[in-house]
Symmetry: C3
Subunit: 274 residues, 3 copies
């Protein structure tokens, strides 16, 4: 199901405007290039609307938020909405502080997002206006497991309906849903949690995939998640065979994305629909 | 002496709030994960006290300081003090500009630090209110050598006494001291100076070790320094055998930290007490 | 022609003050160390003039510009001019938004640059006050090819004359010129375009080379470009033989810079003068 989605990215080289945190921004830029897109980072209120206008998609990530960035996100988001560009929200750490939570609510209120991607804790914060977040990782008690899977799929569909967006809940098992349909994805490797920024990279790749496939937003989001997951699996094998560690693993993940073929992606994806 | 200290970090996964420079922040995040901790970066005045409250330790690094960050450091530092969280100061480039020096003095005046870590030039600035700093490297004339070692140990103990903190003076030979006791550490490799950020990584790892070992702050700081040093030695061997260069070396250092065992750390540490 | 230029950098370890974007800043720091220089990043208006004063060269890169950074660039630039330090401008994305274009014009008006380095689209923006920029890559229609080479050399010399600076136009073929003389450089590899920041790294290395060779600015700039290009070629061979991808390639480029000898640089340079 991914061949055309993948090839559209390679052929169109979608330019993705990222307003993102300074922790993982370099990985985000490099993963976009590796995936077949092109990055442009710009966060000054004076230029974000202009920059968004020359791009194909917008990626908003609140990882190291500040008040100026919120203003810029609103300006860029409104412009992207006006131009019907896909807009992705990665509400990193929503729930960890009132500042992040309120900024997230304000963004959701003023901007129509195409995809909202977060861990279960962040997504619960979005849903309920409450919740706890331990750093940027999901609360263990809130992890998506086989037992809680069915309920989480229902939750994802409801959240998608309420926000009129594709919802991606990431964790050991990933769930992607719109109001009608959900995918369950079992790619990736636990070691990815030892690398800072795999989540931020994923949001950016989702933006590239949606930018190049605007008519298939749910499938494009699922393809991006499978791409990250399959690459994480291949990179893990290389890490082990090289007796390497987590920093090399980080590089290998991006390497595998840059080397990916439609066939490897298709063959490696562990995806089912509900 | 490091086994329990090491295991406490692995088992507790201390969450470290970092307000740090944007040059090496990604390495800081990844080294914390590699060492067994967890990073959260947040520097907006609106949220730093909230973020610190959910963490175990606070790491303040003035590498790319600005006036807003100073304000945030003060807010976070006061909150960490109120909650008795360990607080680490890395006064990068103190002495290089009046702005950095004055910010350092203000931080020292208003916040009780648990550990202060810097090169000899930065530490002299802290001590005397004067001093020169060539970039972020110690002045050669101020290097800690076998000849100046005894005097530097005395200096470290005095500085520790005056600031009621553990003092870590890093260089070819590292010295860690509280008012009563000092360790001399001869791990690491000169090649580490060709990698940007090894000092910033170290401060963050010290914060993680102090967070997980709040009753043994001197030993926890020494353990973190040995961890960085032993990893730097192992990574150097791998760099040479791969005919690699300084960028791979950077990755290998973090790799070795992620692969470290208590036994390797214990066996590799070159530490003596004075 | 490069032996002395190369050795001057190794022996003098030029300290380069960088006010640069947060996307590629870590690579910029590490490439400066790899090339034999030393980085210091500082962008607060309160300290930039002080920091520049203790440095050998200044590198201004507008990749993630904001209004505070423009102010800091002006303060640092004036101080560098007053001290006769080389100042390099990398007008990343000039033409992509009025904000960047106007900031570029203002910098050019108020600061005397030693070297201006950009792709053909950015350089045309500088020349004409108009132009289009697709992200940070040159417009394909504006690419420097064998057919357009002679005209571009003329353009570079005119631009150099008008700005009283060395002008470096980068692309598949690189052109470096002052008002009288131009070099054409055919090093590098197309794969370098899949790595974020090779252009930013280059500006910083140019600043280091000009800082250590202030009497030979045109040749120093050419040497820096050849250094990046030859390293990119060697790194590409290593990437292929390791079956690696673009993230490893990024590391390998910096690795090769750190391993470079004057002989390898001299032997690998594909340079001709016009």
């Amino acid at each position: 199901m991914f061949k055309t989605l993948f090839e559209n990215v390679q052929q169109q080289t979608p330019l993705v405007h990222c307003i993102t945190n300074y922790v993982t921004v370099n990985d985000v830029a490099n993963v976009l290039l590796a995936a077949g897109g092109s990055p442009i980072m710009a966060d000054a209120p004076e230029e974000v609307a202009d920059i968004t206008s020359i791009c194909t998609a917008l990626n908003l990530n609140i990882g190291t938020l500040n008040s100026r960035a919120v203003e810029s996100m609103l300006l860029a988001g409104r412009q992207a909405n006006a131009l019907s560009h896909p807009v992705v929200l990665d509400p990193v750490g929503a729930g960890a502080s009132p500042f992040r939570t309120e900024a997230t609510f304000r963004l959701l209120e003023e901007i129509a997002f195409t995809v909202i991607k977060g861990n279960i804790s962040e997504m619960k914060t979005i849903h309920s206006g409450s919740g706890t977040t331990k750093g940027v990782d999901a609360d263990i008690s809130d992890a998506v497991t086989e037992e809680t899977l069915e309920a989480t799929v229902m939750f994802a569909k409801r959240l998608a309906d309420r926000n009129d967006a594709v919802v991606a809940i990431t964790g050991a098992i990933d769930i992607v849903a719109d109001r009608d349909k959900a995918y369950i994805i079992r790619n990736g490797h636990p070691q990815m949690a030892k690398v800072s920024g795999t989540g931020c990279m994923l949001s950016a790749v989702i933006a590239a995939y949606c930018g190049a496939n605007p008519e298939q937003l749910l499938d494009a989001t699922a393809a991006a998640i499978c791409l990250m997951g399959v690459s994480g699996e291949l990179a893990y094998e290389r890490m082990i065979s090289n007796a390497a560690g987590t920093s090399s693993y980080r590089s290998y993940i991006i390497d595998e994305i840059s080397k990916m073929s439609a066939e490897t992606l298709e063959g490696g994806a562990k995806i089912e629909s509900r």
